[in-house]
Subunit: 440 residues, 4 copies
């Protein structure tokens, strides 16, 4: 996520023939590689605003994010938003503050404030139905010497594959892989959360359930009663106090080694209306998986019982139905994770997401330059030792975006006419529970 | 997957008030529930052809599947296929035979032959560029007494959620959740495999790496040399001979208990052109995850290091670059799973997919009727004790569809003009390696 | 539209060198061209079913048509249809009968009955929310000697451009340009009309306003009171009795000359809910234009004042607002055609569509073969002297499809929460005016 | 297009009961209506940047425009652009200057310079394949007193329908109907023109063929030889010198009457590759119609023979094929307008577009307020007497966007493998005719 700069150019020969001769001694690459050391330094912001498209998520509630770690800021445009939803910058800022760097000792110590501003689509505190544009300026610009940077492909970053795809020698093209891109997702997710809360009292909550080899045991978190306050009570966003210190220790231990660790985020959605999702290719878990796996650094996704479910038999795994005291059809267990046949069944949706350790580390690594010469690369400066706590609001945002998109799809198709009370439950909150602007 | 019929109607009271009184005794549901027994019987095929749309996958190479387990058959329409690709029904049949029921002792003993026929889009053995329609008739029709079936929501099936969504008392609407829907995917996947093979020698291979608690150890399969023959050498599609019998035993053991088990499919793609996938929301792993998680019974997806990668540090996880003997930039390890920054890097793509145990089992289960009354349900007849070996070709198909879709996207955008040989490699096979029809 | 067959093969040399030598005498093509005569003969239907995709219209209410003039029939799959809409085959048949050949003296005398059958998505007379599949068999198969046909590019048909695009020598690929493809559109349009009528009492009516040089004067049709009965009172579908005979005479006159004529269809939509359409690229007139101009043989589209509006000044063209007796905001004139700023304003939407004369004629024409040799082509047999009366239901269908698509889009976005009664009118009919199935 | 301000508030009663009593005298509206006078005044630019989404055109080469007449400017994001295309701001500025106000006596005398800046996607004069962001600041801000403006629905503007749709009392939401939105289209069109020129020497040229009742006779412009210089030789963009003064006189005459006029733009595309467009719903003329009819103020569209073609017989209308001296299959006439069966045939594509007279006029008009009261409205200040000359580059831009989108679609599907030289022509220019960056 952090962009890199050459600290000392004297280490880098201007005569590229040096690399040529070096790499010709194949078989001895690791010994003979030249060494590049890279570190960060601050510069005054250049006025280079960078937007990006093709970066659109959703079919009905469509979010386009833009921006990179350098330039005029990042943000999103939200299209298809219902009109007259109460919305303020404060709604978004709360989640952006959970995502921003420098928020705690376990996050990268970068001085971004990540203050958002709504530029269109909201008037007098209400959405207008027109596109909503939200921008967050980049306040902590750093100099990035691209001519030199362009020489080295950072291991497990996007540098090399962007070159393979586009055939253009530029790192600006690669800037969209910056973690700052997720700011636009989090801002849009806040709008989605507002809609879900107003419509059906739906809540989306995520927390850290694993940091490196510190793993929360199954069942230790009660998803019926989990609160945001529990999650936000500590810097690693783990709602189980006994594990918080262990996780922080794991992060501290890796930080001093100039290395990084990954982990797992668990996410739930509560009070999800029944009926969201569509058979075959637009199943609800399909859309959730797609949403989650578009986040940077994700390597795995599970819904309900996940990979552990493969160890159960069918009779152990099936969720039996019963009728509850209100006469509502429920399941006694929830190995399905709140989704059956691709459609939400009203139970709590739960997911787990694997995040790999951050690719940017301080330790020395071997790599090649764009000229295909092998070198040693050392990056000095700040990086996130563990991105997982900061990833929590990004996971919530993507889940909320899917749910609103599917809610609008369902409302458009299946509630154009009155529902069938014999088989269906009304899914909108009674007017007296809605914000005043929506119920008059 | 199997549709159900009431074997003996005497068990089912025609007077529904019986159910009403039963369910009123809440708190004692499990003791007092009435019992339904359901079994299968064959009938002559009714001429009820059922098609379905909204069932489209892909943006450039678009596949629409249709059909259900009853009615006039299943299949697909493939749109956007390049013209002049050699294609025959035999190409599709090979994969369909790997998917069909009754192929072995570990699969459901159903007598479908699943013989496909191409109805359009192919002339004289070559695709025309027009849509390709492939149909597979349903030859093993069974009587499904929907009036009675409609009473019981089968646990962990789509019956209940379809009712919640659409508000219509019909099981026909739910028929699209049938496993037979995947026939259309497999047929389309065969076309995609032909294109990949002809264009770049790309191969997609999947195999069973876990059945219930029989788990292949990591690294035991060599992905560089894995062959289709190894996979197809046994009925469970496990390429490691020592584990084959253990897996078969696990399935046999569960079958006699009228129960089912799940497992894991591992899938690789070899010789994938570099540059497939797009930044942000259309990353290659995003598309693969979406494709895989649209398959019935999937509960989890991993790319590269997956959940296990969360236990590594950054320096352990990063894939260092080097230049190989042909001067090509490669990675020494492949924890990224062949994809970096959302774009393929030319290394082997590898994924793991979790399949839950089949929901249809013979054991007695508790559930509710559509009238919200609690009952006992017993299903007699055939079911798949373990769907995982038959899921192997469906996973391959979805992966092949994603790769072709992204290949066409990449070719349209990034190879409209000549490539930049300094940073890019040509990704099309030399003409002499192509089928004659494509190279003249 | 009619496919062609060689009547007498003796006119066609089997030795193609004949063509070569002929065409070598360039400069004298029109004199020396060989002559091909083509006519129709019936054969028993071959069992070649041909489906097609990529043939999808709409974003929310999506219609995919398939089929060609030969093979197993034509039809459509409708996806995203609201559940519990009353629907029967009779609803569709009424419009299909208006489209079918052989319905009158002015239409092609072909014996198709065009009887439709619903295969899925409708149970007990109600839509289920699942995809609706409608099929119409091809009953009037004719032998089409493609090997010979393939030689000649018929003027102003799709033969040549299909070859240019796909590079495959096959006329089957070109079959989707058949006028029979519009059968699927008309069937889907009937579903759309049912939804519009039930939801808001919206009616879509089209009629013939010009045949060749017989032109209805402006204003002679009262769009407030126009009825389907007036349109259907005669074979040319002109609601003004004085012009009916003139139009029929014009068609009769051209028929005896083995030639064809075109004309204009006018279409209105009455009681259209306000608020349909979206700013910028998804304006309502944009979607209508796209829908109409996808019909075969269309060459022009006008909304409201159209090309004639260019002769007015702004003060003559602007539609002034007033408040009517019910307190509703209306316009005194309607040069806007019921749409302002891309959004419906509640006034009557009106459009005009230009249809060129049918390309298939009996007269001798010059053309070239696929081998680029110039020849004379004479086609014997049946053709439509004027397609315009039969195009009327296809225009209505496309307009109804756009309106339902936009209605669902609007309902999903703008009526997810209660409307603002101060600025908005409720657009759904009161329950007592709805069909019983939709209002309980 | 111009936003309005109340010049003198003394005309507007603050007590709205005045309007109530006035409107209660129904039947006498036109006599008793209160009077509002509106005029323009300049203010210093407010820093209100307004972006908009849902404003995306194209499937492969996707353009999203944003912005309004107030706020931080307008522009576009272009996604899916091929990499390594030479591109500079000067390329865009040339067309933007043709669109900007104040360019001549016949255009609105507004002082916008419309200077564009590329913010991303272009490095060292070449596209990178990443999204291209182009912005044009709003330099000529005017104060718009929305509280007062909000009272009056301007006739034939979007004010009323935006209120009907969204139910929110705000004019900002309506800002996207501003003519300045088309700036983003023109900038994107310049990129498309660069691609077309480099790939196949394709040119897109539009000109004014009618202003009010001054109409160019058919055939007076030679589309084979028409040049941009001919079009740009005068302020009305009419390439026929004899008609230029007549058109200017017509505009001058209407300007002194505080009124406006419309007209017709003709557009051609020359050297269009054969094979662009797809059968059924994605025909090339369908996409062109949709593109054109999304431009503000358009009321009609014609391709090839258009409405006039309805007066011809089939034998008069059909375009006979012949083989030219290079052995290429051509048509002797071009009533098809360069498209047959929905696919380009290599002949010149030609279209005509009707633009209504500008809705903003100085003359007094009757209308209603948002409170549904009838009033008189007088707008002082600048407006375009005839938008048609300035619409010329917007038409060209939309046509170029469609052609590039279809080119990429065709290349991705039909040129993934080598073409069939027997039926197809290569459509890319030989390397020696390409810009150097594209052919190495």
């Amino acid at each position: 996520m952090a962009a890199l700069t050459l600290a000392s150019k004297s280490f880098l020969p201007t005569d590229l023939s040096f690399f040529h001769s070096s790499s010709s001694s194949s078989g001895l690459h690791r010994l003979s590689s030249p060494t590049i050391q890279i570190s960060h330094c601050r510069i005054s912001p250049r006025k280079l605003e960078v937007k990006a498209g093709g970066s659109t998520f959703g079919n009905y509630f469509r979010v386009t994010t833009y921006g990179e770690s350098y330039g005029g800021g990042v943000g999103c445009v939200i299209d298809g938003c219902p009109p007259r939803i109460p919305l303020s910058e404060a709604d978004m800022q709360a989640d952006l503050d959970r995502r921003r760097p420098g928020q705690s000792r376990v996050a990268i110590p970068r001085a971004e404030t990540d203050t958002c501003r709504i530029y269109s689509g909201v008037v007098d505190g209400l959405t207008t139905g027109a596109p909503i544009h939200v921008n967050v300026p980049n306040t902590d610009q750093r100099n990035e010497d691209y001519n030199e940077m362009a020489l080295a492909y950072r291991p497990s970053h996007a540098d090399a594959t962007y070159d393979f795809k586009y055939g253009v020698r530029t790192v600006q093209g690669g800037g969209r892989s910056s973690g700052r891109e997720t700011i636009g997702r989090v801002a849009a997710g806040a709008v989605a959360k507002n809609i879900l809360r107003a419509y059906s009292g739906t809540e989306v909550l995520a927390y850290v359930s694993q940091v490196h080899n510190v793993i929360l045991p199954g069942g230790v978190v009660d998803h019926e009663t989990l609160t945001l306050a529990q999650i936000e009570s500590n810097t690693v966003r783990c709602p189980v106090p006994e594990y918080v210190e262990k996780m922080i220790d794991a992060i501290d231990a890796i930080l001093v080694k100039d290395d990084s660790v990954g982990g797992v985020v668990t996410c739930i959605a509560r009070n999800v209306p029944r009926g969201l999702g569509s058979p075959v290719f637009d199943k609800l878990e399909t859309e959730l998986s797609r949403a989650i796996m578009s986040l940077p650094a994700t390597k795995g996704f599970e819904i309900g019982s996940g990979f552990a479910g493969t160890l159960l038999t069918g009779s152990e795994h099936n969720d039996e139905f019963y009728t509850d005291e209100q006469g509502k059809i429920r399941t006694r267990t929830n190995r399905s994770g709140g989704i059956q046949g691709g459609i939400s069944n009203g139970e709590i949706i739960n997911m787990r997401v694997a995040f790999k350790p951050t690719a940017t580390i301080g330790k020395k690594q071997f790599t090649v330059t764009r000229d295909r010469k092998e070198i040693e690369l050392t990056t000095h400066g700040r990086h996130d030792p563990c991105i997982v706590p900061r990833a929590v609001p990004t996971v919530e945002a993507m889940v909320a975006l899917v749910l609103v998109d599917q809610l609008i799809a369902h409302h458009g198709q299946c509630e154009l006419f009155p529902i069938n009370p014999y088989l269906q439950d009304p899914i909108r909150l009674p007017d007296q529970l809605m914000p005043a602007n929506l119920s008059n």
